[in-house]
Amino acid sequence: MATQPTKLTPKELSKRPERLSPGHRLCAGCGASIIVRQMLAAIDDPVVIANATGCLEVGTTIYPYTAWRVPWIHNAFENAASTISGVEAAYRSLVRQGKIPEQNVKFLAFAGDGGTYDIGIQALSGAVERGHQFLYVCYDNGAYMNTGIQRSSATPFGAHTTTSPAGKVIPGKQQFRKDLTAIMAAHNIPYVAQAAPSKWKDLMQKTRKAVNCGGAAFMNVLASCNRGWRHGTDETIELTQLAVDACYWPLYEVEDGEWRLTYKPKEKRPVEEWLKRQGRFRHVFRPENRHMIDELQAEVDLRWERLLRLCGEA
């Protein structure tokens, strides 16, 4: 009798052994480790994980210590997807040849937005196009946080980073965030989703769909970073949810090409409310920059309307 999957309630989940041990060196209040803990808690099957270079990798495996209680490999910055595709190919081959038993192993790759939107997008696109059975998770904290908050294509419009500083002439990042989730949906793979740890059940249900979709899956998960976003260490979950309610980070899934909204805020918050709480946007509240808030709001609305249409909700 196939054992029943663990019920998705905090009580039941809290009984399962932690796969990411305490003692890792991610910053206090880090969104990424919450995401990893929640997603791994949702997967009952054995997992093998690849990481790209980045905060998660650095913070969890400073030799001779490792916080990983599951098989884990880091290769380089731009190849989490191709590395895990090699591990998955080995598993497929060794099982097919009867050299190791089939153990329903789930293969995951975790990488930050820099490692996914920018330097790793080619390996990601290649691996999903080849149809390896794995889930690629991007913990999107909106910049190269590990190396000191440099701008990535995931950095929000207007945000201050060390390579898109809020200067007198150029006030912060001038481009809108690359919509990577839509790009991955265009790969027509079985499962793509955007999620956030503040809506933990939604994140966990999506994780389960992703690891059981029978093919390549991609999840983009908002990971607040109090260092980079400049907010209090205790505001991680609150600000993550505010981004969702402001529809800057909508929660939806694309299952076999079917777009479905999985959360609709009762009251859509103005994006300004989210910006106001973060030091990286302080400069847009100066009179001469306020227009940037409107530009960002317009873009957020444009993308939100488009998403509603795609999900048949408009």
Binding site: P10, T60, T66
Partner: protein
């Protein structure tokens, strides 16, 4: 862990003791600490869900939240901010908390192995 020579470590940079990060106590990072009103707790385990450092201690048999693992808690205060009980029973207090540990019954310091809870 005292430093080993090259003949005494696995080759290829491998780490063979999974999860040995538990030997590294990050509790020392705290500037704030969680203070816990055990009586008012409804054991909803939200704090367990949102703790970045797996530092919420759980008694799985009785499905109860029983305290914080101050060996690792970095004092971020997320548990305090998301605790759904209207009168916040987890507060973010100044100080790392060690000096209060001994006398304050509400603070429970436990070392945790594999998520199991030991007295």
């Amino acid at each position: 862990m005292e430093l080993k020579g090259w003949r005494d470590i696995p080759i290829g940079g491998m780490i063979l003791e999974a999860g040995n990060a538990v030997e590294y106590l990050t509790g020392g990072w705290r500037a704030f600490r969680p203070v816990f009103g055990q009586a008012g707790c409804i054991h909803c385990m939200q704090c367990w869900l949102f703790c970045p450092d797996s530092s919420i201690l759980v008694d799985p048999d009785n499905e109860k939240m029983v305290g914080f693992d101050l060996n690792y808690c970095k004092g971020c205060g997320i548990c305090a901010s998301i605790c759904p009980v209207n009168v916040k029973i987890i507060k973010k207090a100044k100080g790392a908390g060690e000096e209060l540990a001994q006398d304050d019954p509400r603070l429970c310091i436990r070392t945790v192995e594999e998520g199991k809870f030991e007295e």
